[in-house]
Chain length 295, copies 4
């Protein structure tokens, strides 16, 4: 069952997703603000669009994978925009990591234009997409979800249906990143504690990843902390701070204090204030080490 | 290679450990303050001792599995005690969860008496012992560790050597429990957040345990939180508070602030203040739910 | 020395300030979005303006006392706005409580239009204005400050010169409110502690206000907490939350974690989540009481 | 009305208190573990005792002003001790800063011996005693309080009656010190914030002490922070940490989380870990400055 749709935003993640959709035989158009990343998709048979309006006209389904709320708002509103260009009953599938606030706001704007919005944030890095291991959380009106589901199944390995309220899926993504930040922070504290008691960091790494914490969050970030290898960031401290503030903002919106987020937000703020904002966000562990009189 | 030794403390954990040592053919004596739990070990060929002194004389190696620092101090010091009874070069293997402070204090007392102390806390519940999956962290003077190693290998599946400073192994155990408390707290916050956004708790449980957090800490305690099943405690809030205070005390001793421990210590204090001290310690998630206006 | 200027925003605070300026003989015009509050100033000889442009033309100095950043941005930008209407070298004196971010942003916009911005937030309630006890923190280019100083001296009792960077004065105001929130939170915790030990709340109130804490922050808010008198708000929990988020946002901008702000922000979030957002912000003490198993 | 009693513990505070009691004409005996500090009181007509037993026999009322719980327990229990030596209906007035736990424990021990305990901690430094400005919080059985009241009135300027449960008075003292720590911490955060915005520290000091925070807690400690004058400690970071842990221990006993205490306890732990334990406890502000990328 081939679906006709357009994908907007060809960063590393968006490009990997486009490849998966094309591999599965979907009729995909692509659009990127700067034209360069789109070029290679022409060779793969994808229609390369010159404007948002052209993308919106390709099947009336648009997937966006954009860097932040500002980029998403810019694409959704304005003169050459999705809301202005999508046909009646058109569908916007929001796949980036965004605030619940902007997702709700755009869902209302699309609804006012007779269109639909589905929130479908992804769990995983570009490598996970390519390896066919991506998770996708999806929420929105049931019929709209059904329309884009074949596309999501081509892109991701596992689809988690989070109900009909788009903000819910956005919130699951924010909560997942929040949990990751908490795990990194807790490891930073535990490594500092055991190091000051004379325990080798590699030994402590083995203990936790062989036991209760044998999961990627701990094996990937425990390795970075054990090796103090912050200089090759998979995700920077500055981006981590954005994730913390996204979580706290959703908490404020929903009436939920997040005391554990406060802890690592503060450590990231300190790291950035010291000029370490472009290091891996696991550098929050170094703040903990400093606060413990280490290093 | 059979080792002659005694095991003191036949609670659920100590009894399971004694069974494993006997299964492996070690010459084990047992002692328990109240005689009842020791009885069945006579049938298994174990020597059942009537006093600490008798236990200390059985091979000069004593393993203790006791509930807390006070019980350990009582067994180590005093008239009929390990320090008074162990022979020169005798060995005390401390396997319970204890403060770094008491471990260091007893190591010094044993050393003053010409004896040795090895710290060998266990990672896992009695069921893990029986299933042959227990982890053991061990630290102490190398020769002393070598003497008890065959016993530890009979009891546990994996031995983590944490150096020659006994306090280090005690600290690893405290840090491991600390990490667990942090994971439970973070889940409590994340479940409250997603629930207030209208997301089903079972769905959120699936998302996290299928992804970055596919580890026992999250699958076991995420299940309890998703089901709000606090009434069948595997470990009570009151015991959880003790673990938090153990972590904070080690942090104070070592000069390491543990801001993440503060968070869940405070939630456990509140739960206990409300009369929920005998519920499962995952009840800290209910405090978070209350602070979010849920329930 | 009479100064010709306009005051925009005739809420309780703005109106009290206008009265003081008129009392001192300044040539004051007034403007309010809804015309009603302006009416009585005509009888006092003030020019009542029908538009922002008319106000901006009255001497080229405009004081604004507005409720929040959104209101300030609306007045500064847009078709009938201060930036569009103030003459070259015109002066905008911002006296409300605003984020450092908006103050810096408007300072740049005014500068681009050849105009000046002075930040002059006030410390105190309307009653303090009337009683001639208001403090004013002022920052901006020295010549611009000098031009509005006679007006500020008419309005306030004490002028604190905070340098030539307008964001500094805005930050002092935010920091002052932050300190107040911290004092209220700390009292909430201390009252809960002593109450659970059987100490009468009035006695504890006497102890602290007779000693190290004999200051308005403690006598005013300690009284509210001791009497649990949250139903007659001088300042609501919802406004208090905005102050906390203002502080945290300035902290984020400046690279300063504010761990004490996290604590009372979270208590206010909980109070609001429970439906107590319109009570006095000292209701954060009731959250603490609840977390202590009281009430 | 002269009272016959003994005072134990002639540190700076105890000595100043003894002077006041003698000035008022009370028949005071004194005892100190090391004899030197007692000598000068002989010239003032005080009986200088050679043992606790001798002190306990002097009127059957003993005031203790000791450094910590360990010193208090040592004086109360043991062979030559207050409990062993006080006559039936004898009275022990505990005036140092102690945990609620030890006060309750000793109250029970004295009661078992047919004796009384009154808790009467002091609010102020030795200079306040000499200046006749000391506050005293007193709690215990009404008749026992009445017996020592003339002495307390000679020593202090204001007596706060906190009920008949001795633990209550101990808790008020702990809560008072807790509030002070919170005020210092909050100032540390506020000074760091305004400094990073370019505001002069002396100016910020003026703003807060002229307004809502015109109280000794802020004027004394704000001065130390504004001048970064941590090298002449009135009270060291190490002692401050003890006060934080005293507060947290009382909170744990009473079922009261103290999230604001966590914040400054952690800052003091870090300062001590860096080797600054003997600086003034306001050095917690320097930790905040470091966490903000200052200094």
């Amino acid at each position: 069952l081939s679906v006709q749709a357009a994908l907007i935003g060809l960063g590393n993640m968006g490009a990997a997703m486009a490849d998966r959709a094309l591999d599965a035989g979907h009729d995909l158009a692509v659009y990127n603000r700067s034209p360069e990343p789109a070029r290679r998709f022409a060779e793969r048979g994808a229609k390369v669009c010159a404007s948002l309006a052209e993308a919106a006209a390709h099947g009336g389904i648009v997937l966006t994978m954009l860097a932040n709320d500002a980029a998403l708002r810019a694409v959704a509103h304005g003169p050459d925009s999705l809301i202005a260009s999508l046909p009646p009953a058109g569908l916007h599938v929001v796949m980036g990591t965004h605030s619940v606030e902007v997702v709700r706001e755009l869902a209302a704007s699309h609804a006012a234009a007779g269109q639909f919005l589905v929130s479908a944030p992804v769990l995983g890095r570009p490598e996970a997409v390519t390896a066919g291991k991506l998770g996708i959380v999806v929420a929105g009106p049931a019929e709209a979800v059904a329309r884009c589901r074949p596309l999501l199944e081509a892109i991701g390995a596992r689809i988690f249906a989070a109900g009909d309220e788009p903000g819910g899926a956005a919130g699951v993504k924010v909560a997942n990143n929040f949990l990751l930040g908490c795990a990194i922070e807790a490891m930073g504290e535990a490594f500092a504690l055991t190091e000051k008691l004379g325990v080798d960091r590699q030994l402590f790494y083995e203990v936790i990843t062989a036991g209760l914490f044998a999961a990627p969050a701990y094996s990937v970030y425990g390795r970075i902390i054990a090796d103090a290898d912050f200089a090759n960031p998979g995700f920077t401290a500055r981006l981590g701070l954005k994730d913390a503030e996204l979580a706290l903002a959703v908490g404020s919106l929903a009436g939920v204090p997040l005391p554990s987020a406060n802890v690592w937000r503060d450590h990231l703020l300190s790291a950035i204030a010291r000029g370490e904002g472009e290091l891996d966000w696991a550098v929050m562990a170094r703040e903990q080490a400093r606060a413990s009189g280490l290093a």
